[in-house]
């Protein structure tokens, strides 16, 4: 087991209205630690020195909740493909390396403190239409409506989106199209979701615009950085679905 001596250059910002700046700290990390565990070590060190620890978000630490964020050396969730920050291990970094850690950047994701950004704009997009309407009571048998295998798989691939916001963070336009399209595709491909598709897509697109997310230029940075490998095909599906809703729906 080897120990890495690292320089962590991290964004410090007390609150949204304050100006932030980078601070550099020396951290000794074990190569088997996750990136978040390395930050825990840094924070324990800061607390011992009676300094303010670095604020960052985390929850499940097993790559499925979408809470961890941060941009590591210019890439959301760090350099590893299909990996969240919590699943990124320190063995992918070199001894003596300087690692630059920044918060997700987008106007619709304002910084709350240090590496913590407010992603409530995503919640409001979901609230506007990212659901299906069902009656309460006994749960319906999941297999009562047969679903073609291809569709089920495509829908499931889109449903893998954990809503972390790495797509917005990676996008030079601060666009939320990959996230919104994943939700629209996931629900729209299933018979349970198809019935409300027109209403859903229009409401979600309107909310996305209202939140001030940028427009999609098909650059593909979102697809490259997505920890759940959500594909650009979903954005094409969203655009088709939106046009269909506007031109053929009520």
């Amino acid at each position: 087991m080897s120990i890495l001596n690292l320089n962590i250059k991290v964004w410090r910002q007390n609150q949204n209205s304050n100006k932030g700046q980078f601070e550099t700290y020396q951290v000794q990390a074990n190569e088997h630690m996750s990136f978040l565990e390395m930050l825990d070590v840094l924070n324990e060190q800061l607390v011992r020195e009676k300094k303010d620890p670095v604020a960052f978000e985390h929850d499940c630490r097993e790559g499925i909740c979408g809470t961890c964020s941060m941009v590591i050396n210019g890439q959301p969730h760090g350099p590893l493909a299909a990996t969240t920050t919590c699943q990124l291990h320190m063995r992918f970094f070199k001894d003596g390396e300087t690692i630059v850690v920044e918060p997700f950047r987008a106007n619709a994701f304002p910084v709350i403190k240090d590496l913590v950004v407010d992603r409530a704009s995503f919640d409001r997009i979901i609230q506007s239409g990212g659901f299906i309407s069902v009656n309460t009571g006994q749960a319906v048998d999941g297999n009562s409506i047969p679903i073609e295998k291809n569709r089920a798989e495509k829908s499931f691939e889109a449903a893998a989106c954990i809503g972390c916001g790495a797509c917005v963070a990676a996008c030079p336009n601060g666009s939320a199209m990959l996230f919104t399209s994943a939700k629209v595709t996931h629900l729209g491909l299933l018979p349970q979701g198809e019935v409300e598709e027109d209403k859903r897509v229009q409401a979600m697109v309107a909310q996305m615009d209202k939140e001030g997310f940028g427009m999609c230029s098909n650059i593909g940075a979102c697809e490259a950085e997505c920890p759940k490998e959500i594909k650009l095909e979903n954005i094409a599906f969203l655009n088709r679905s939106y046009m269909k809703a506007v031109f053929t729906g009520e």
Partner: protein, 227 residues
């Protein structure tokens, strides 16, 4: 009609305008190239001059040309507005810029667009404006038809090294713009499928190289071989 206004003011709607106008301009480039290749004919400019006379007098072409001017302006103005909006939406830029798996062209469409627009001002100011709105061009008579000698102006312009250089820069910018824009237009229209998307992407790259290169042959040929 408010639904239509709402559609075109949405983010997706605006991008669909960019996509449709872009595809129209892509089609225009083919027509423009085929017409202009007549400049390489060794006939003292007869075929080209008769063709330009047809292009400025035919009522159907005139009608389409007004659409063309409108779409160029719409594509340029809306494109710049979108670029400004997107840049504001991003807000603070990262200290470390790293974005593997993306093309330079895709991230610089507005810059490339501005270069193309600057080139268009030079290009249209020199030929289109002089042809349509001034009497600066000499007249030339073929059989019983007297037409403006645009060929003469072109042949003179392409003797200037800086005009040829500006054309090459403009066409290089166009090539990069098309490299991303061609396939991006289809994606925006929702046309992305494993059956045909690889073909669209391949065709887009081919188009982005071949068409600007074919345009570039004309000024280069005149500069070096038509002294």
């Amino acid at each position: 009609m408010s639904w239509l206004v709402q559609f075109f003011s949405s983010g997706i709607g605006k991008k669909i305008i960019m996509s449709l106008t872009g595809l129209f301009l892509i089609l225009f480039l083919v027509v423009h190239l085929i017409g202009n290749l007549q400049l390489l004919k060794d006939d003292g400019g007869k075929a080209f001059n008769l063709y330009t006379e047809f292009m400025v007098t035919n009522p159907l072409i005139k009608f389409v040309s007004y659409g063309l001017y409108f779409f160029i302006l719409l594509h340029a103005v809306l494109g710049l507005l979108i670029a400004r909006f997107n840049s504001n939406s991003k807000g603070t830029k990262y200290a470390v810029q790293r974005s593997p798996e993306t093309t330079w062209a895709s991230k610089n469409m507005a810059l490339l667009g501005i270069l193309i627009l600057a080139f268009l001002l030079l290009h249209m100011g020199d030929f289109w404006f002089k042809m349509k709105f001034t009497d600066q061009l000499d007249m030339v008579t073929y059989d019983d038809q007297t037409v403006k000698n645009l060929y003469g102006r072109v042949a003179v312009a392409y003797q200037e090294w800086w005009i040829v250089a500006a054309y090459l820069i403009g066409l290089l910018a166009l090539s990069f713009h098309l490299w991303h824009g061609f396939q991006s237009a289809f994606q925006t229209l929702g046309l992305n499928h494993k059956k045909y998307t690889p073909a669209i992407k391949g065709l887009g790259k081919l188009y982005a190289v071949v068409v600007p290169l074919a345009f570039a042959i004309i000024p280069v040929y005149y500069y070096f071989f038509m002294k």
